[in-house]
């Protein structure tokens, strides 16, 4: 604790006088704990490996081997055929409890009385796990209040990127959620063979410490949602529109600009993009965690914004705006880029690569026209392209600390069921629903969603993200699986290592707030509301208001990980 300020006692006394809290002060309220520095929300760094209390990894033999064998997690294996599913769990536990799980939902929430839910409850042993859906767009911010007020039911799913809204997520986790360590440590393969088979690295990402300075206080506080690697997001192009205009897929940033200029026509209502921002840093070689990277030449932690490539990135974004290659309402952030790409109004969208599959499936169902494909890794000025890939858990399912051990075990029974991989009956029901109602088997032998299935089951979260699967595969339409597998194979050579892989870093709150403002300033420059010449001022302001503290923080983390 920092030394109390010499001015503090006077202020303290004045405060109590004003607030009429003298009695409380006399009782030893904040007076005895006087400390002039703010110590909370100081950030935390958590190792995700090297713990002896993780579940003992026990292989679970896959019912069917994949057709395309890759190198998980960055290059997952895939199935180009749909196997006859087998029952993964033969000794079904019997559950009678009813629980509520808060999950994010993008789009309209499905009807709660749909047969899908009844079928799933019955299949996993009778336990009812009712979903409480929150708007995915604002979920991270509102989840802070739900968790602190203990109004999230018996569990809550949080994606990794949402945790930045918590002023001190480590403190939140160890105080709000159930410590699963005693229940899941060691050999759990007898009761939960599938949970025992999920990668130990995934369990490692579910570890937090009660005392950030004492590794002895670490424990498992969540069920990992997944364990992925590779390239999750990308830029999808309407290949058919390019071909119609005689344009080729761009292979460099310069070619991208040429194609964008050739295709865009502001007066005719067609634009190259609806905005490119968070993804394209890697086109300019900008990566790292929260923009921080170790510079071996300077032997120093450097933020992307301090590098000349950052100015190139901002110049590129500004060019897109100035030359009207972006939809004029893009700054509102409210445009439906996917719908506009389907309508042929925009050529490129920045999205999760899952939409590559979704788009082409819609085409196969005759709902829309065209074809999309992701751009290959791009780079500017003749540099070698880079692709940011980080293996880890994208999120977690946390359980309420007020649950009893028996209740937690009942939910873990469900999690074990949900961890069933592709090729099992459990996976089929969870991911496709009831055959005949939510999906049918198509001509190529793979499941095809019905309209009801698209509305109820196809959403990205639900129970599908309750627990990490034993292994994650590329599945679905055989053509798409083959294309995605080939794409993943092609980008492996461009993989950019993350210097912080293996640790989970929560930066100090002040740095998070400064980073939030920094992003707003970048948007100002990109959309013509501020000049490119303001970049040095922007950098200086960031560094002086939390950035330098963040540099020190990341430097310490890096040195702890890689040595001096």
């Amino acid at each position: 604790m920092a030394t109390p300020s010499d001015r503090t006692p006077f202020k303290r006394r004045s405060l109590f006088k004003a607030a009429g809290l003298g009695a409380a002060g006399a009782a030893g309220l904040p007076v005895l704990a006087a400390c002039s520095d703010i110590e909370s929300s100081g950030g935390s760094t958590q190792a995700t490996t090297g713990y002896d209390f993780l579940p003992t990894h026990e292989e679970w033999p896959l019912p069917v081997e994949p057709d395309l064998v890759g190198e998980p997690p960055h290059h997952p294996s895939g199935f180009t055929s749909y196997p006859e599913p087998v029952q993964a769990i033969t000794d079904l536990p019997s559950g009678s409890g009813t629980y509520e799980l808060t999950v994010p939902c993008w789009g309209p929430a499905p009807a709660k009385d749909d047969p899908y839910f009844t079928a799933v409850y019955e299949a996993w042993g009778g336990t009812k796990l009712e979903l409480r859906q929150g708007d995915g767009m604002t979920y991270g911010d509102t989840a802070v209040q739900w968790v602190k007020a203990d109004e999230y039911g018996d569990g809550i799913q949080l994606f990794n990127y949402m945790t930045g809204s918590f002023s001190n997520f480590q403190e939140t986790v160890v105080n709000s959620f159930y410590d699963l360590t005693d229940i899941v440590q060691g050999d759990i393969s007898e009761r939960w063979p599938l949970l025992a088979a999920i990668p130990s690295e995934a369990w490692g990402y579910a570890v937090w410490q009660k005392d950030p300075d004492d590794p002895e206080t670490a424990g498992i506080y969540a069920i990992p949602m997944n364990y992925n690697g590779g390239q999750g997001n990308g830029i999808l192009a309407r290949v058919d529109l390019l071909e119609a205009e005689g344009l080729a897929m761009p292979t460099t940033v310069e070619e991208f600009l040429e194609v964008a200029r050739a295709w865009s026509d502001d007066a005719a209502g067609r634009w190259a993009t609806v905005g490119l921002d968070w993804f394209i840093g890697q086109w300019f070689g900008l990566g790292g965690t929260d923009g921080w990277n170790w510079d071996p030449d300077q032997k120093k932690m450097i933020n992307n914004i301090e590098r000349p490539e950052f100015t190139e990135l901002m110049e590129f974004r500004r060019t897109l705006w100035d030359e009207k290659l972006i939809h004029p309402d893009a700054p509102t952030g409210t445009l439906d880029a996917a719908a506009m790409q389907e309508a042929g109004q925009v050529m490129f969208t920045q999205d999760n690569l899952v939409r590559w599959n979704d788009y082409n499936l819609k085409v196969k169902r005759g709902e829309i026209e065209g074809r999309v494909a992701p751009l290959p890794p791009l780079a500017a000025k003749g540099r070698t392209p880079t692709v940011a890939m980080a293996a880890g858990s994208g999120g977690w399912t946390f359980l309420n600390k007020n649950l009893s051990r028996e209740q937690v075990e009942e939910i873990l029974d469900i999690a074990n069921w949900c961890a069933s991989p592709f090729g099992t009956k459990e996976y089929e029901l969870l991911n496709y629903g009831v055959e005949g109602e939510h999906f049918t088997i198509g001509a190529d032998g793979t499941p095809v969603f019905t309209t009801l299935g698209s509305e109820v089951v196809q959403g990205p979260v639900h129970y599908k993200a309750l627990a990490c699967q034993v292994q994650t595969f590329l599945t679905g339409d055989p053509d798409m699986v083959a294309e995605r597998f080939a794409y993943d194979a092609a980008i492996q050579d461009y993989r950019m290592e993350n210097p912080f892989e293996g640790v989970r870093i929560e930066p100090p709150a002040e740095a998070k707030a400064a980073g939030s403002t920094l992003w707003d300033q970048q948007q100002d420059i990109a959309y013509g509301r501020a000049e490119l010449s303001s970049i040095p001022d922007m950098v200086e302001t960031y560094l002086n208001n939390g950035g330098e503290a963040a540099r020190q923080y990341y430097t310490d983390a890096y040195k702890a990980l890689h040595g001096e």
């Binding site: 503090t8 904040p30 400390c35 909370s40 700054p331 509102t332 709150a509 002040e510 948007q523």
Partner: protein, 327 residues
């Protein structure tokens, strides 16, 4: 009809040397006498206690390094550290300046607009025209800010109705809803459409309390419309104008949240950031926590309190009642 009579004997019956003794009623007697009034006040007192005074007491966390996860008394006292951080933040002063700018604009432009609308409305004789006019001007108050902003974007946005008309005629695309330089005017237009009519209603109520015979007398003395408004109407509603003005000054730093938050991405944070959005983005989105947000809120409250006291004092000096008086 019953009349109230004093039960005390007339002064003439009292011996001259007998001192006057005012019998003070006991608490029990007063309770017995006033219980219906106390009962009526109870819900309001309960509401104020639970939703105002109790949360107000929690302002103390602005002086603590507060965490909801430890016992309250274990939160260390940090003096004015959060305020120091607040004032040292280079984005706090611009947010405060924007807030004051929008507040002043609201006070100077919207207040007279509501009064003018009320006067115009009061001069309409046809009941049908009057009710139609009233509905048109005050119904937008019930629209949410999401709807108001959407309507403006659809009409005046870069890809909106007017812009497309202009482009069809060979002109340049209109850049109005995403231009930081015109944002102040945009905000004023949105206020005028949404709230001017609502503000008008209170002044209309005040106007209805003016005795019509005053107008008749003035008209028969030869006062024209302007004179009648200047010498009868405006003095008649002056106490209400002063009252609302003081209340508005008290809340001067609360210029709203949704209107600015919804247009933040489109116009940029530098033009739209006001204190309320600043607190949201710093303490909720930015993760600076409860103490930081409370410090900013407390600062806002203290400034508002000072302004309301000053405005009330000025009202008294000008011979108006204001919102309260000591005696």
């Amino acid at each position: 009809m019953a009349t109230l009579q004093s039960t005390a004997p007339p002064d003439t019956d009292r011996p001259a040397d007998r001192p006057i003794v005012r019998r003070k009623r006991t608490v029990l007697q007063r309770l017995r006498h006033d219980w219906p009034l106390l009962l009526l006040a109870l819900p309001v007192v309960a509401h104020l206690s639970v939703f105002h005074y109790w949360p107000t007491a929690w302002n103390i966390i602005a002086f603590m390094d507060y965490s909801p996860y430890r016992p309250f008394w274990e939160n260390p006292f940090v003096g004015f550290a959060w305020f120091e951080r607040l004032f040292a933040d280079p984005y706090f002063a611009p947010a405060l300046a924007n807030t004051l700018k929008f507040a002043a604009l609201n006070l100077l432009c919207m207040f007279p607009l509501s009064v003018a609308l009320a006067l115009a409305m009061n001069s309409i004789i046809s009941v049908k025209v009057r009710s139609t006019f009233q509905s048109i001007v005050y119904l937008p108050h019930f629209f949410s800010w999401v709807l108001v902003v959407t309507v403006f974007v659809q009409v005046l946005g870069a890809d909106g109705l007017v812009s497309n008309w202009i482009m069809a005629g060979g002109g340049e695309r209109l850049d109005f809803t995403s231009n930081p330089e015109t944002f102040t005017f945009l905000v004023w237009m949105q206020w005028a459409w949404k709230d001017a009519g609502w503000g008008m209603i209170i002044f209309l109520a005040a106007l209805s309390s003016i005795n019509p015979s005053l107008y008749e007398a003035a008209a028969s003395d030869g006062a024209n419309r302007w004179r009648r408004m200047w010498h009868i109407t405006l003095p008649g509603i002056r106490p209400v104008i002063i009252l609302l003005l003081i209340l508005q000054i008290g809340g001067i730093l609360s210029v709203g949240f949704e209107q600015y938050q919804l247009q933040r991405q489109a116009v940029g944070f530098q033009a739209t950031e006001v204190l309320d959005t600043y607190v949201y983005y710093q303490s909720i989105v930015g993760g600076q926590g409860e103490s930081f947000g409370t410090a900013a809120g407390l600062f806002k409250g203290v400034i508002g309190l000072i302004l309301i006291l000053v405005a009330n004092k000025i009202a008294h000096r000008l011979g108006e009642q204001g919102i309260y008086q000591k005696s």
